[in-house]
Structure formats: C-alpha cells, structure tokens
C-alpha cells in the first residue's frame, strides 16, 4: 500500500470528495486577542498538585514519599503496565504528601495526587543531549515512554504506544495535527509560530520511530502565520508537506483529518494504523523533540487563557500541576464572575467549579466565559426535527433519532443506530435550534450501557459463586451423610460382632 498522492493541486475527484463532505460547523473563531500574544512563562505557584492519572491507562505509581526533596525532571511516579505514563517533577522542591485533590473530571470527584512545594531554586537533574538519528526506533519509543510524553491535544494517549506501532510493519505516513479547531484556543498556533523548529524536528523523530516516509502537517487555514513558519522551517525536508485544511469544526478530530488529507477512512473498529497513518499533535511532537534531543521529560505545556470574563487573555507556558487560580491571577483576574469556567475548548471542554484544579498534561485551555458567550439563557425546547444535527455530524449519525430513543428509555435502540461511533465532538448540540443537550444524552447513554454491561458480568460471576456454593453445600451434606452412614454401619457391625462373640462364649 503506497503513500497517498497529495499535492497542492488535488485531482478533481479529491476536490469533489472534499466538496461533498459537508459535515461540521463554523463557529466564531474568537482566537484573538490571545492568539496575538507571545507565550509567557507563569511564575511558580506555592504548591503544585500532580494527579497520578493524567493519561489514558493505568495511573502511575509513586516512587517518592512525603518529606523527599526532589529536583526538576526527577521521576516521581512510574508507569504501571503497557498503557501508562510516568510523572516527573516540574520544578525542584519538597514532596509534602500524596493526597486526594480535585481533578478535571465532570463528576467533581477527586483523585490521588503528589503534592509538591517548590523551593524557588528550580534546580534540575542533569540532562544529556542525544542525536535522535543515532538511536534505533525501539530506543526512541523507550525514551519517549520514560519521558512521560502523552498526547497533548487533549486525548493524553501515551505517545510511546503509538511510536511502537511501527515495530513490525512500518507505517508509511505521519500526520501532525495542527488543526486546533476549537474556538478561543491558540496554544498550538503560538507553538507553531514561535517554535516551528521543535515541531519539525519532533516530526522527523517520530517518522524515524514508526518508519514513515511521508510527513503531512495539517493546519487550519485560519492560521496563516503558523503555516508560513512551518513551511519555511520544513523547506529543507522534502518529505514534509504542510497542508492548509479548511477551518471547520471538528477538522482537528483525528479521523476527520486523516480522511481529509488522505481520503481514507479509519475503520470504526480499527485504528489509524489500519490505513497506514499515525497521527500526533504538534505539541506532542515538540515534547518528543525535547525528550529525545535533550532528555527533558514532559513537565510543562502551553495553555491558552481566554474568554470574555478574563481581563487579559493570553498564551502561557505553564508547569504541570499549577492550579488554575495562578493562571487567572497572572492574566489579571476576572472582569466579572464567569458564567462558566471551562478547561479545554468550548465545544468539548470540561466545566470546572473550583480554581484549585491543577493544569495537567492534556489541558490546552482555560476559558472564563460570560453568559452571553455561552448563550445558555435558553432552556431546552422540543425537538423540531429540523435535521441540522444530521447535516452537522461528521460521522454520519442521526443525533435526533438517537436522542429520541434515549429520551424514551430505549438505550439499546440508540446503540443500534450508531451511538458507539459518536465521538462526542458537540457539533450537533452546537447547531441545535432547540438547544437540546444532545452530547449529554449520548454520554449518559454510553455510560449507562457500560454500567449495565459491568453489572451483567458481575451477575454472571455471582451466579457462578452461587452455584459453586450450592454444589459445595450439597457435597458437604453428602459427605456428612456418608460419614454418618459409615459410622452407623460400623456401629451395627460392632454390635453384630459383639453379639456374635457373646453367642460364641455362651455356646462355648
């Protein structure tokens, strides 16, 4: 299977295919003024909170304890299992404990985290510089795993697992995702503008690890400076092509980007490797560059702080574990109490209720939205079956049908028409004139179905326990009865013998 033939003048069929794919929506970008600001580091807060689970997979296991003094870049928690990632200290300081802290999660529940009190010295472990092209692909993957790099676009999938995919069969195409289709967010935009070298170098390293011969960097057309900067830097590498993709939400969704750039559809029960593609976020590529070239583990990231209720929206370089309150303070605080505080973008982000929540590896944005921006003043109305959601869905589902079935309580019926393929991008809810919270219906249904499945498995296991217990009771009862019968037979025999002996003596 060859590499896709993508040129700047795509063939007619490709143009037609792209034109006919009318999914998605065009929300107001609202990238400025944050997109025009240079990335600025945030001063260290009084306490850093590092949740043990900042990634998909098993939580990391702490290797330090309260009272330990650590240096920047030192390992604090090691990965557990294949799908996991380690955690490193973002700065030097004292470990004050491992406790439960509020984390970015819709339930509002807390999770265990390592608490680190910076000492202000910011001393780091010594790092070694390496030439990535002297390393084998397997070694690159190992070092990326050891550096704790996860998907920085928000998915937080451990990057090393993707890098290992090319071990048996090389994956011909690497796509870097510079889409950043969510409104307000510009962290990837600024990264591509200010540090294109890191992104390009990271791309080359990843390509070496997976065996890719072609690298495509997809950037939305609303970021012309980023496209120019990347093109300029990648000019000496003919295998890299920077493609402008339309500014449409959710163009940054991995499957949608692959389909646009290569024309291939990732199978719904497969992965992107099945169509010969591996995708990484541009931020992840930059992190891989730092991890391999300089041995620097993942301890900081760029975060966009924006929204109508923030005094000075800007892009910040933040140490992982910094509480959100420090970011807000650095940006001048609130101009008014926000109607919603969102971690991430407005389409898929998480509404948080406390400013003590820390920035984690996947946090790309913090938005303080006013009531006008959220447009939440309208209550949910009846579905008028306008079909806007059907036109908007990038996966080709029927959100109105699925929601109607969920509302009626028939979750299995909603799964029949494709609930499991929903990527929860939020486009359908965004375009709904009746303001129906469609994504919440789908998330609820997915969770409820998973919960029932767990219950079903539990019931099956319990049934086995009950049967085993009944069998055991029967066996015990049987053994008791046998033993009793044996003893009775013994007694009878003893009695008969005694009687026979008495008889003998009598006759003798």
């Amino acid at each position: 299977m060859g590499t896709p033939n993508i040129s700047s003048h795509p063939p007619l069929l490709t143009r037609l295919r792209r034109h006919l794919a009318q999914w998605g929506t065009h929300p107001d970008g609202r990238k400025h003024p944050a997109a025009g600001t240079t990335v600025t580091p945030v001063p260290l807060p009084p306490q850093l909170r590092l949740p043990l689970s900042q990634h998909i997979g098993a939580p990391a296991r702490p290797v330090v304890q309260a009272g330990d003094r650590v240096l920047r870049g030192q390992l604090l928690a090691e990965a557990q299992g294949n799908i996991s990632a380690p955690i490193h200290a973002p700065t030097s300081g004292l470990i004050t404990g491992i406790g439960e802290v509020p984390i970015p999660h819709p339930s509002g529940l807390g999770a265990p985290a390592i608490l680190l009190e910076p000492d202000g010295l910011d001393e780091g472990v010594s790092l070694t510089e390496t030439d990535p092209f002297s390393l084998t692909p397997a070694e690159i993957a190992r070092r990326v795993a050891a550096a704790g790099v996860v998907g920085m676009g928000g998915a937080t999938f451990p990057a090393a697992v993707k890098l290992s995919l090319g071990r048996n069969n090389p994956i011909p195409t690497l796509i870097l995702n510079g889409g950043e289709c969510e409104p307000y967010l510009s962290c990837d935009d600024r990264l591509m503008q200010e540090r294109p070298g890191e992104v390009v170098d990271g791309a080359l390293i990843i390509a070496r690890a997976v065996g890719a011969r072609q690298i495509l960097i997809g950037v939305e057309s609303n970021k012309p400076e980023a496209i120019a900067a990347l093109r300029e830097t990648a000019r000496v590498h003919p295998e890299i092509r920077v493609e402008a993709v339309p500014s449409r939400y959710p163009m940054g969704s991995e499957k949608q980007l692959i389909a646009w750039l290569t024309g291939r559809e990732v199978p719904s029960e497969g992965r992107s490797a099945d169509v010969g593609v591996v995708v990484q976020n541009v931020g992840t590529a930059a992190a891989i560059h730092r991890a391999i070239r300089f041995g620097e583990p993942l301890t900081r990231r760029i975060v966009t702080v924006a929204g109508g209720a923030i005094r000075t929206p800007r892009n910040l370089e933040v140490r992982i574990g910094t509480p959100v309150s420090a970011l807000i303070e650095f940006c001048g605080g609130f101009t008014q109490p926000p109607a919603r505080l969102v971690m991430g973008g407005p389409m898929m982000g998480l509404a948080i209720h406390s400013t003590d929540i820390p920035v984690i590896k996947g946090s790309g944005g913090l938005l303080a939205l006013t009531a006008a921006e959220t447009a939440q003043s309208d209550a949910e109305a009846a579905c008028i079956r306008c079909g806007s959601c059907v036109n908007a869905c990038p996966i080709g589902l029927l959100p109105l049908e699925m929601a109607a079935r969920i509302r009626a309580g028939d979750l299995a019926a909603s799964a029949d028409i494709g609930l499991k393929d929903c990527i929860a991008c939020g486009t359908c809810s965004f375009v709904c004139p009746s303001r129906i919270p469609l994504v919440q219906y789908f998330n609820h249904a997915k969770g409820e179905l998973a919960s029932r499945e767990r219950n079903r498995m539990k019931q099956a296991a319990i049934r086995e326990l009950v049967e085993a217990r009944s069998a055991r009771m029967e066996r015990e009862a049987r053994e008791k009865a046998e033993a009793a019968a044996r003893r009775k037979a013994e007694r009878e025999r003893a009695k008969a013998e005694a009687a026979a002996r008495a008889q003998e003596e009598h006759t003798a």
Partner: protein
C-alpha cells in the same frame, strides 16, 4: 456538588422563533400580493385563520399545564395558520378558516404530542378535512379584483362576504386547474382550454383565480430561494418536488400534448410553489436524512402530477404531501446515511479497504 454542565459551552444556532420569522418573511411578498389581488375579504380570512390557530394553541397548552407564552412566541402556530390561509379560497366564509385552524392545531398537532411530534402536516391535513367536509365553499374561486379597482368590495361589503351572507351569486370563477379538468372531461383539447385561461407571466404574478398561495408563484419561488440562501430550508426537497412534477409532465406532454399539460403550466398553477418551498419542507413531517429528502420531494411531486392528471380532484398537492408524510418514518428508516468507518450494512470497514 453543584450541577454538572455538559459541553458544548457555546451555541451557534438561531433559535426556533427566528426560523419561523424568516419563513413568514419569505411568505410576505406573495401574501401581500394576494391581499392586493383579492381585497378585504382575503385579509379578513387570513386574520381569522391566524387568530384561530393562536387561540387553539393557547388553549391546548393551558390544558396541558404548560407555559403558554413560549408556545406562542416560537411562531409555529402562527405559521401553520398562515400556510393554511394561503391555501384557502380567498373569499371563503370565516368559519372555514376558524374550523380549519382549530383542527390543524388541536387534532393535527397537539393530539399527537405537540411541537415536533405530529406525523402529518397540520395545514395540509386541515385543508383536506375542509375540502372533504365542505366541498362547495372550498371550491368557490374568485377572479382577482384588485383593491381599489371597480368591482373590488369595500370594507363593509367584505365584512358581509366573510362574516355574513357569503360570496354573492355570479361572482365565482373557476381556477385554472378547475377549468382544465372540466374541459378535459368534456373532451376539449388541453392546448385550447389552457390557451384561453392561462397566461404564464400574468399567472405567475397572480392575475387569475385561485387561493392566496396559488397566485403569485414567482413571488413564492423568490421567497423559497431566499430561505434556501439563508439556510433555513435545504434545497433538496424543493428541487426534488419541482423535478418530480416537471419530469413526468414533460414526458407525458411530449408523448401526447393534447391530453397532458406542459411542465411549465404544472409548475405555475395550483399550489406547487407554495407546496415545494413552504409546505413539503416542514421540518417535523419530512425526513431528516439527505437521501430521504430527495425521495420525499420526488414522491410528493410525482403524486401531485398523478392526482392532477388522473385523479378526481383538480389539485393534488395536499393529498400528495399527506401521503408522503405517512411514508416519512419508513423513508427515514431505510435511508440512514453510511456511518464513517463502516460499510452500508453497519459492519466495520476492514483495514485499508477505503
């Protein structure tokens, strides 16, 4: 723990009320043209129908214990009344409009469960009920008597026409389709009967007998194109509807011009423009899948042509739309789009298949 707020935390759609307002805006030119052509009685009938719909809506919401104001504010009842009024004979008595409006809202909308739950288009169902129950009043067409011209009734006579004694004898006139059907039954060649009653340009601007919505076909088409441009309705259903009427008409006319009307005549007479752009495109009663919308529109158009050509009624739009409404759930079920990453039958794509 405070409430969980689900994403997305922003919205980009225009609210339902605005959608209805845009549709009413698109209807305005043709309606005003109709008012001018048919005078005060038409205005009075339109007002009566709308009021009846609004009152029925308020009554039903009150009975259901739900807020009344939001229901009236979203404009759906008013729009139903407006479309119903556009399809009635302009000088019909007031109770036609009142009964039709109340039936449309109470039986065709709220008895099914309210906004978004009805299976049949309320305006068309009400029109058909009126047509079957009161055939005389529903087929009494009037030749246009523009406001201010001789022969146009003044306000007082209009009150009498709408609320009192009704249309004076001798004033009724046949609509184009009526005339053609009658003549065809008598064996007169279509071209001849068409020629002396139908003049395309004038007809498309409303200078002949018909309902408020029949006359002014071009104005309705303009309104429809405005709605498509503003993305209130899609282009699939109107296009399919018009093609569904025009293509069979063209084929038949080619084969036997003396017995079958040419496509242009079909498109500009009767309620085709109103039906294609405003009635068949009703969100609730039309399919939501892309292919389904093509099928629905084409089916409406084809059925309209069939009923007009071979059915007993001169105008077939209302029946055609109701029949296709009944088929909409079936169409929706069988025209589900292909899910990304899956084959049409629902199974996952194999690696590197597409």
């Amino acid at each position: 723990m405070s409430t969980v707020f689900a994403s997305p935390h922003a919205h980009g759609a225009r609210p339902v009320g605005q959608v209805m307002l845009l549709v009413m805006l698109a209807l305005l030119p043709a309606t005003l043209n109709g008012f001018w052509r048919f005078g005060w009685p038409a205005i009075l009938l339109w007002i009566t129908t709308l009021l009846s719909c609004l009152l029925a809506e308020a009554l039903c919401r009150r009975l259901a214990g739900q807020p009344v104001r939001s229901a009236l504010a979203d404009g759906s009842a008013a729009l139903t009344g407006w479309l119903l009024a556009m399809s009635l004979p302009p000088w019909a008595p007031w109770w036609i409009g009142a009964v039709g409006g109340a039936f449309a809202i109470i039986v065709c909308k709220h008895a099914f469960g309210g906004l978004g739950q009805n299976l049949f288009n309320p305006a068309m169902a009400a029109r058909v009920m009126l047509l079957i129950s009161f055939p005389v009043e529903m087929t009494r067409w009037i030749a246009p008597r523009p406001l201010g011209s001789d022969g146009a009734p003044g306000f007082a006579s209009a009150l009498d026409i709408t609320f009192g004694a009704g249309v004076p004898d001798g004033l009724s006139s046949a609509s184009v389709l009526d005339h053609i059907k009658i003549e065809a039954a008598r064996g007169v060649d279509i071209a001849q009967s068409l020629g002396d009653s139908f003049e395309p340009v004038m007809a498309s601007l409303g200078d002949r007998a018909g309902s408020l919505g029949e006359t002014g076909a071009l104005l309705l088409a303009a309104g429809g194109i405005f709605l498509i441009a503003r993305r209130v309705i899609g282009a699939r259903i109107p296009l399919a509807f018009l093609l569904g009427v025009a293509v069979p008409a063209a084929c038949a006319n080619l084969l036997a011009p003396q017995a079958y009307l040419p496509p242009m005549a079909h498109l500009l007479t009767g309620g085709v423009m109103l039906g294609a752009f405003f009635i068949a495109t009703d969100y609730v009663t039309s399919p939501s899948t892309p292919l389904g919308q093509w099928i629905f529109g084409a089916g409406c158009g084809l059925l309209t042509w069939i009923i007009r050509t071979w059915g007993a009624y001169p105008e077939g739009i209302a029946f055609a739309i109701l029949l296709m409404n009944a088929a909409t759930p079936l169409i929706d079920h069988y025209t589900r789009p292909r899910i990304f990453g899956r084959r049409r039958d629902g199974r996952s794509l194999a690696p590197q298949e597409r």
